[in-house]
């Protein structure tokens, strides 16, 4: 041991720094929460109106039975892959740089999954009968149909939501104990319950570490299955351009792509708002930039493989869809999407200097997510708009009510995340300490 400050000596400062968002709140925060609440209220109003008057408040009409709600559902599940990918895969590969990123990404996962579930309800024609989807014994002896990909989806998302809540909670236990000992008032009681008597004995540490070691690979496997099944929702159908074998892996990679973009945005914002520059360094943006470059290339490769297969085959049913994308009714969003998720990230992220520019990466994250949202819409709408009987061809653009609900839900996600930041340390404190210890020992 040398004379320079060891991690042990730094601990009071680390505790102070990382707990400070929980302890001090500025007026701008209240303003932000207030504004978001207004948007959420507007969205809730729009949804109430839609329930009262009918699902026809959307622009959906036959043959386009699915639209922005399902696209958002797919999008938000994609965002939820941020946490699991970052903390799961990086924990699994022992990537030390993950430490300051895991918690905020896992928090995104949980929030995104809550929001995802909402979109199922927005979408239902008779949402008040949603419980028909739940397998429970009833007097009519009717069960849901597990042969429907939607039931696979429901099962997978239930598993994923439960698992990610557990996965964010376990590493939080020592941090809850830390907060319990340092924060007063009603929150102390809540932290006390959540810390389940944590006192940092080696027996507890060993149990916790073993549990995390066991659950990490499991949750990575769940993550891959969840978005594969979301892909199956489409590829199991006979719809031209949906019925494709590449959908499952393509959806998984696409989810990680937008999830990573979202993590970069969150990382940048939280670092700026809570002055976490000491913990979230340029190095972390650079690493995320590299990962984004990998997902960009992987996704572009899969997309190209998919479209080329369709184009070379020239099967009329499929070509109707592809033509509408390449130079038909959906050409503008299509080429915009292609630049957002492939071209712009590719030409920027290949430059090492660019990857060291946090603002630039944050903007790439925004562009990717905008592009991925459009991509979800383009996966769903054009194939439905070009059924085999050309007499039925039609177009679709979300209605005002749909926009109100979409924006309200985005505000809800931001609101939940903002509230969570005040309750949960955004950087895992003990893992950060451990990382510092490892760094000093090697």
């Amino acid at each position: 041991m040398t004379d320079r400050p060891t991690v042990w000596e730094e601990m009071p400062k680390i505790n102070r720094d990382l707990l400070s968002p929980l302890q001090t709140t500025t007026w701008t925060y209240y303003l932000w929460v207030g504004v978001l609440s207004c948007f959420v209220a507007a969205g809730a109003g729009a949804w109430t109106y839609q329930i009262q008057t009918g699902i026809g408040q959307t622009d959906l009409h036959h043959p386009i039975f699915w639209g922005s709600y399902i696209a958002s559902f797919v999008f938000w599940i994609g965002v939820s892959h941020s946490g699991t990918f970052i903390s799961g895969v990086l924990r699994l590969t022992n990537a030390e740089w993950r430490r300051p990123v895991t918690r905020m990404a896992e928090l995104m996962t949980v929030v995104a999954l809550l929001v995802t579930t909402l979109f199922v309800f927005y979408h239902l024609g008779r949402v008040w009968r949603f419980y028909y989807l739940i397998p429970y014994p009833n007097q009519r002896e009717l069960w849901p149909n597990f042969r429907s990909p939607l039931m696979w989806d429901a099962t997978a998302i239930f598993t994923y939501a439960t698992a990610s809540t557990i996965y964010i909670y376990l590493p939080l236990i020592p941090d809850f104990a830390l907060a319990r000992d340092r924060i007063q008032g009603w929150r102390k009681t809540v932290y006390g319950w959540l810390a389940i008597g944590w006192h940092g004995s080696q027996a507890q540490w060993r149990t916790l570490e073993m549990a995390i070691r066991i659950i990490t690979p499991l949750i990575v496997m769940v993550m891959i299955s969840v978005h594969s099944i979301v892909g199956f929702d489409f590829s199991m159908a006979l719809v031209p351009a949906w019925h494709s074998t590449i959908f499952a892996p393509y959806f998984v990679v696409g989810a990680v792509h937008s999830g990573l973009g979202m993590v970069v945005i969150g990382l940048y914002t939280l670092r700026r708002v809570y002055r976490l520059h000491e913990y979230v360094r340029t190095e972390h943006f650079e690493k995320l930039g590299k990962l984004l470059l990998v997902t960009t290339l992987l996704l572009a490769y899969m997309y190209f493989a998919e479209q080329l297969t369709v184009w070379y085959g020239q099967v009329p049913d499929h070509m109707a869809v592809q033509n509408s994308l390449l130079y038909g009714a959906y050409a503008v969003p299509f080429w915009f999407m292609v630049s957002c998720i492939y071209i712009i990230p590719l030409v920027t992220l290949v430059w090492p200097r660019f990857r060291q520019w946090p603002v630039g990466l944050m903007m790439i994250g925004l562009i990717i997510n905008l592009g991925m949202y459009i991509e979800r819409m383009l996966i769903i709408v054009p194939p439905l708009a070009r059924p085999r009987l050309s007499f039925q061809w039609d177009e679709y653009f979300p209605s005002l009510i749909e926009f109100a609900i979409l924006v309200g839900t985005l505000a809800l996600a931001l609101l939940l995340y903002s509230l969570a930041v005040k309750f949960v340390p955004v950087i895992s404190i003990w893992e950060e300490k451990l990382g510092k210890k490892h760094a000093q020992e090697h």
């Binding site: 008057t53 009918g54 699902i55 026809g56 622009d59 959906l60 009409h61 036959h62 043959p63 039975f65 699915w66 979408h123 239902l124 024609g125 008779r126 949402v127 009968r129 949603f130 028909y132 989807l133 009717l142 849901p144 149909n145 042969r147 429907s148 990909p149 939607l150 039931m151 429901a154 929702d233 199991m236 159908a237 006979l238 719809v239 439905l384 059924p387 085999r388 009987l389 050309s390 007499f391 039925q392 039609d394």
Partner: protein, 245 residues
């Protein structure tokens, strides 16, 4: 009456076997008059959509006449294709329903249970014939149209998928009448509203399991084909090709 004694004998042996309802659409006879569409609306309590909703693509039609133009002006020809639910034996819409609102009856009908439907609309996407229609709003009928609803057919609320049932209420009453007399339903005894109203008799309905029925004969015609046969859905609607050209 029978042309094939062996088949008739077979049929009487299996008199207890279920019916398999089948429709034949003779494209050569269809004049595109849409009488079937009107009859279907009246029979099945289909909601009135109005001009605006129709423009939005929300008019509900259990049967529709698709009109395709062939050739260039002035030598254009209109071709008509009546499309209704094809009651596929391997229906793509059925297994995707998460709540069993869509299932297959033993008589080969593709049934829709309105009370069970929660409106996820997956079945609508997965129907290659776009035969499924959705109630985007609660139905309404202008006075006095509300007074003429068919009491045998339930009115569907908003948020529910619906589609052609082959006039299941007529099939039921036909079967009940036959059952009282202790016999099977005779060929031609049951006619869905569209079949009944077709002035050119382009639509024929009957039991596929009855080897003497008109549909059984017509189905074997060299003109017979199914819509999108390559999808393997095995529809219960057989189309007969046009004779001209």
């Amino acid at each position: 009456m029978s042309q094939d004694p062996q088949a008739t004998e077979e049929y009487s042996k299996t008199a207890a076997s279920p019916y398999k309802w089948e429709m034949v659409v003779d494209l050569d006879r269809c004049s595109g008059c849409e009488a079937c569409v009107v009859a279907c609306h009246a029979e099945n309590n289909i909601r009135i959509s109005g001009e605006e909703e129709a423009a939005e693509g929300r008019a509900i039609n259990w049967i529709r006449i698709e009109r395709y133009w062939e050739g260039d002006y002035p030598n254009v020809k209109a071709k008509f294709l009546p499309v209704m639910c094809q009651h596929c034996d391997d229906a793509p819409c059925e297994p995707v329903c998460p709540v069993y609102a869509s299932y297959h009856t033993p008589e080969g009908l593709n049934a829709q249970v309105y009370n069970r439907c929660i409106g996820v609309r997956y079945c609508g996407n997965n129907c290659p014939y776009v035969a499924r229609q959705f109630n985007w709003f609660d139905p309404h009928w202008d006075e006095p149209l509300a007074e003429q609803l068919n009491p045998d057919v339930s009115v569907r609320s908003g948020g529910v998928m619906e589609k052609c049932t082959f006039c299941v209420q007529r099939i039921r009453s036909g079967k009940e009448a036959a059952h009282k007399e202790g016999r099977r339903v005779r060929d031609g005894e049951i006619t869905p509203a569209c079949v009944q109203s077709c002035p050119t008799s382009a639509l024929i309905f009957g039991d596929r399991n009855d080897p003497d029925s008109r549909v059984s004969h017509l189905k074997k015609s060299r003109r017979g084909f199914h819509l999108m046969e390559s999808l393997g859905t095995h529809p219960a609607v057989t189309y007969l090709r046009r004779l001209s050209e």
